[in-house]
C-alpha cells in the first residue's frame, strides 16, 4: 500500500477496480518478476493518485488512463524497486547501455568522463543510493508511474539534470545601468553611437519591432513552439518531426508556411499603421518601399538588437493552460 494513502482508501480502490486491476496485472506480466498482485495494484494506485491529484481517483477516465500505461515497464520498475535480482539483471543488460549512450549523446563528444558520471549517478539513484553513496529511503524509481516508456523517462531525467546543471553554471552578469525605458529610447541609445545615423532607421525600426510583437502574439502556440525549437534551440526538422509524430517533410512545410504567414502579418501591420494608444501617437501606414527598407535595416549587419527592444516592450501576457 502506498505510504501516502490510508488503508481504507486503498482498500476501496482495490475493491472498486478488482477486475480491471487483475487484467492489468496479467497484461503487465508482472509475475515474471515475482511481483505480487497487491504490489502491482499499489503501484497503479500511486500512479493514479499522482495523475489525478487525489487519494480517491475519479472513476471517470481511470480505466482509459490505466490502459494507456506502459504496464510492463511499470512492472519492471516495481520489481527493481523491490530489489529483484532478475529484474536488475534485465535492467543492466538492456537499459544501462542505453543510459550510457544517451548520456554520451547529451554531454557531447569530449565528455566521456562526464557522460559516465551522469549515467552512473542516475543508475546509483535508481538503485537506491544517494549522491554520497548512502542508502536512501526512496528510489528514483518512485517517480516513474508508467505514463511513458521506462527508457524515455530515464533519458528525460538525464536531460533535465544536464540542462539544469548547465543553466546553474551559466553566469548571468548584470549589466550596469540596465535600460528600462521604452523601446524607442532603447533603440535610440543603440543608434547614438553611429556617426552616420540614418533618420529612416530611427523612424522605421520601432515600427518593425511593434509589428513583430503583434505577429508573435497572434501566432498559435504550437507554431510558436515549433519556431522556438527550430531557431532558438537548434533542433533539426527530423527531431521536431519525431517530437510531433509527423513526417519530416510535413514539419518542413509547416515551418515554411509559418514563415510566410509571419512575413505577411508583419507586412500588413506595417502597411496598416497604428492608431494612437497609451499616450503614443498613431503612425501612418508604410509604403511598400518603406516596408522593404524596414526589413533591410533590421536584417543587415548593423547592430539592431531586436531582443532588447522587445524585452523593453513586453509582449502581452499569455496564460498557461489554454
Amino acid at each position: 500500500m502506498p505510504p501516502e494513502a490510508s488503508v481504507s482508501e486503498f482498500a476501496a480502490f482495490l475493491a472498486a477496480y478488482a477486475s480491471l486491476l487483475e487484467s492489468l496485472y496479467l497484461r503487465a506480466n508482472a509475475s515474471r518478476w515475482k511481483v505480487t498482485y497487491e504490489e502491482f495494484a499499489a503501484v497503479l494506485y500511486r500512479s493514479a493518485v499522482h495523475r489525478f491529484g487525489s487519494a480517491q481517483p475519479p472513476s471517470e477516465g481511470i480505466e482509459s488512463y490505466f490502459q494507456a500505461l506502459h504496464l510492463e515497464d511499470l512492472a519492471l520498475a516495481c520489481a527493481l524497486r523491490s530489489g529483484s535480482e532478475p529484474a536488475w539483471e534485465q535492467f543492466v543488460t538492456d537499459c544501462r547501455p542505453v543510459l550510457h549512450a544517451s548520456a554520451r549523446a547529451i554531454v557531447g563528444a569530449g565528455g566521456e568522463a562526464r557522460a559516465r558520471e551522469l549515467a552512473d549517478s542516475l543508475y546509483a539513484e535508481l538503485y537506491g543510493l544517494d549522491r554520497s553513496g548512502a542508502v536512501r529511503k526512496n528510489s528514483l524509481l518512485d517517480y516513474f508511474h508508467g505514463r511513458s516508456k521506462l527508457v524515455t523517462w530515464l533519458r528525460s531525467v538525464l536531460a533535465q539534470r544536464h540542462v539544469d546543471a548547465l543553466r546553474a553554471s551559466q553566469r548571468l552578469e548584470p549589466l550596469d545601468d540596465e535600460p528600462t525605458a521604452s523601446h524607442g529610447a532603447a533603440f535610440a541609445r543603440a543608434n547614438s553611437a553611429s556617426e552616420n545615423m540614418d533618420l529612416d532607421r530611427v523612424r522605421l525600426l520601432p515600427r518593425l519591432a511593434e509589428a513583430i510583437s503583434e505577429a508573435l502574439a497572434a501566432l498559435p502556440v504550437p507554431e510558436r513552439l515549433l519556431l522556438s525549437l527550430y531557431y532558438v534551440q537548434g533542433m533539426t526538422l527530423a527531431q521536431i518531426a519525431r517530437m510531433r509524430d509527423v513526417h519530416e517533410a510535413t514539419a518542413s512545410r509547416r515551418l515554411q508556411s509559418i514563415r510566410r504567414e509571419l512575413r505577411e502579418r508583419v507586412e500588413c501591420a506595417l502597411a496598416r499603421g497604428s492608431a494612437a494608444h497609451d499616450g503614443r501617437a498613431g503612425a501612418n501606414g508604410l509604403s511598400p518601399t518603406e516596408i522593404r527598407r524596414c526589413l533591410d535595416y533590421a536584417l543587415d549587419d548593423w547592430s539592431f538588437d531586436l531582443s532588447s527592444i522587445l524585452a523593453a516592450n513586453a509582449v502581452p501576457g499569455r496564460t498557461e493552460g489554454k
Binding site: R96, P97, V98, S156, V221, L227, A249, S252, R259, E320
Partner: protein, 443 residues
C-alpha cells in the same frame, strides 16, 4: 502585399524568421521553474502519450519556457545521437549502411549502378575476367566438401584420411585451415533473450533481411526508429533543402516516422522473433568468393555487399568498445563471446575468451590492451589485443555469505595494462594497480 524585390521571397521569409527567433529568445525564460512539468510528463510528451488537452496545456508552457525547450531539444538529441554514437563505433561502413536503408535494397545497388551508368560498363569486361580467374583459381584450390570434412576429422583425430590426391593435400591443407578453424568454432550462442533486442539494435542498426528488419523496427524505441525507416523521398529532400541546411546538416537526415511503429518497447518482453530470424553467425567466407565480390565492388565503387551483409548479420553481442584511436574495436556478448576488428568494424574475427559467461563491459586504453568484465565474476585482460587471460576477482568481492556466487561486474575503467577499476552490480568499486594480482576496494 508582396515585395517587388530581386530577393527570393523564401529567402526573405527565412531571414525574417531568424529575426523572429531572436524575439522569441528574448521572451523565453519568463516562466517560473516551479511551473515546469516533471520528467515523466516530458517523457510522455516525447512518447506522444499525453492526451490532447494535456498536450495543448503543456505546449503552451513550452512555447514560453526556455528551460523546457532546452530539455526537449536535449531529449530529442539524446535519442537520435544514441544511434549516431553506435554507428560511429562501427565505422563509416556502418554509417553508409544505415543511411542507405534496407540491406536488401543496398544489395542490388551495385548492379543498378552498373546499368544506370554506362561509363562503368567499360570496367565490366576486365572485372569479369579477373573475377572469373579468381573464381577458377579458388575452385581449383578448394577440395570437395567430402575431402574437407575428412581433413577436419584428421585435424581432430590425428589420423590422415584425406581422399584428395597426395600432392594437393599439403597444398590445400593450409588454405583450408581457415575453413576448418571456422568449422570448429564453438556453437553459436543461443537466441538472445527478449531484452537483448535493444542491444542488437545498438550494434547492428541494419538487419539482415527485410522481414526481420521490419519486425525489429516494430519493436524499437522511438529514437532508434529514425535509423531503421527508409529515407525521405527525393521530393522531400528538395523541400528540405530550402531550409537552413547548415543546421540540418549537423545530423544526417532522418527517415520519416511510422506512426504505428512507435508504440512497442523493447523492454516489453516481446518474443525474440526478430532475433530468431537473423542468423547468429555469418557464414564462413570462402577466399575465392570474397575476391570476386571485392573485385566487382571495386569496379563499381559501391560498398562491399558482403561486408554489409556480415555487418548486418550481427549476432547477439552488441556491446562495442574501442581503443582511443578507434583502430581496434571489440564486440562482446553472451556466452563469453568476443570479436575483434582492426578495420573500424568492417570485418570481425572471433577471439577465444576462455569463459562462457555473459560479458557486460569493456575498456581499451590502447590498441593492444583491453579489459573485459562480465558475470559471474568474469574479468579478462589482453596485452596483445588477441589473447585473453582470466584475472582473479577480488577475494573480498564475494557477498557476505561465502557460498554466495561471485558478483557480476557491470563496468570497467582502465588506464593501462596494470591500472583498472571494476564495478560490481551493487556498485562496489575495486581498483588494481598490478594488472589484477591484487585489488583494493574503493570507499
Amino acid at each position: 502585399m508582396s515585395f517587388n524585390t530581386p530577393d527570393d521571397p523564401r529567402s526573405r521569409d527565412a531571414r525574417l524568421a531568424r529575426l523572429l527567433a531572436e524575439a522569441l529568445k528574448s521572451q523565453s525564460g519568463r516562466r517560473e521553474i516551479s511551473a515546469c512539468p516533471d520528467a515523466e510528463v516530458l517523457a510522455t510528451y516525447a512518447d506522444h502519450g499525453l492526451a490532447e488537452q494535456e498536450t495543448a496545456r503543456w505546449e503552451s508552457h513550452f512555447a514560453d519556457c526556455d528551460r523546457c525547450q532546452q530539455i526537449i531539444a536535449v531529449l530529442a538529441a539524446s535519442g537520435e545521437e544514441l544511434t549516431e554514437a553506435e554507428v560511429e563505433k562501427l565505422g563509416s561502413l556502418a554509417a553508409a549502411s544505415v543511411a542507405r536503408g534496407p540491406v536488401a535494397r543496398n544489395a542490388a545497388t551495385p548492379w543498378m549502378m552498373i546499368w544506370r551508368r554506362p561509363a562503368l560498363w567499360r570496367w565490366l569486361v576486365p572485372a569479369a575476367g579477373l573475377a572469373s580467374a579468381a573464381l577458377w583459381f579458388a575452385l581449383r584450390q578448394a577440395p570437395p566438401p567430402q575431402a574437407l570434412s575428412s581433413q577436419k576429422t584428421a585435424a581432430t583425430t590425428g589420423a590422415p584420411q584425406s581422399e584428395t590426391a597426395p600432392g594437393s593435400a599439403a597444398a590445400s591443407a593450409k588454405s583450408d585451415e581457415t575453413q576448418i578453424a571456422q568449422a570448429n568454432l564453438p556453437a553459436p550462442p543461443a537466441a538472445p533473450r527478449p531484452g537483448t533486442l535493444l542491444r542488437d539494435q545498438e550494434a547492428a542498426p541494419a538487419n539482415s533481411s527485410t522481414a526481420a528488419r521490419k519486425e525489429r523496427t516494430d519493436k524499437q524505441e522511438t529514437f532508434s526508429n529514425a535509423v531503421q525507416e527508409p529515407r525521405v523521398s527525393e521530393a522531400d529532400n528538395a523541400l528540405e533543402a530550402r531550409e537552413d541546411t547548415a543546421k540540418d546538416s549537423r545530423v544526417p537526415s532522418a527517415q520519416p516516422v511510422d506512426k504505428k511503429s512507435q508504440a512497442v518497447d523493447a523492454l516489453g518482453a516481446a518474443p525474440p522473433v526478430a532475433a530468431a530470424a537473423a542468423p547468429s553467425t555469418p557464414p564462413p567466407a570462402r577466399e575465392g568468393e570474397r575476391a570476386v565480390r571485392q573485385e566487382l565492388d571495386r569496379a563499381t565503387g559501391a560498398p562491399v555487399p558482403a561486408q554489409l551483409k556480415a555487418l548486418t548479420q550481427t549476432p547477439s553481442p552488441a556491446l562495442v568498445f574501442a581503443s582511443p584511436n578507434r583502430r581496434a574495436l571489440w564486440r562482446l556478448g553472451s556466452g563469453g563471446r568476443i570479436e575483434h576488428s582492426i578495420d573500424q568494424g568492417q570485418t570481425w574475427r572471433p577471439q577465444t575468451s576462455g569463459v562462457t559467461a555473459d560479458l557486460l563491459a569493456g575498456a581499451a586504453p590502447s590498441e593492444k590492451i583491453a579489459w573485459v568484465v562480465g558475470r559471474p565474476g568474469a574479468i579478462l585482460r589482453t596485452e596483445d589485443g588477441e589473447h585473453w587471460e582470466r584475472v582473479a576477482p577480488p577475494p573480498t568481492a564475494q557477498a557476505v555469505a561465502p557460498q554466495s556466487p561471485a558478483p557480476d561486474w557491470i563496468n570497467v575503467e582502465a588506464r593501462d595494462a596494470l591500472h583498472a577499476t571494476i564495478i560490481s552490480r551493487d556498485l562496489r568499486r575495486f581498483v588494481t594497480e598490478d594488472g589484477g594480482r591484487s585489488w583494493l576496494q574503493e570507499k
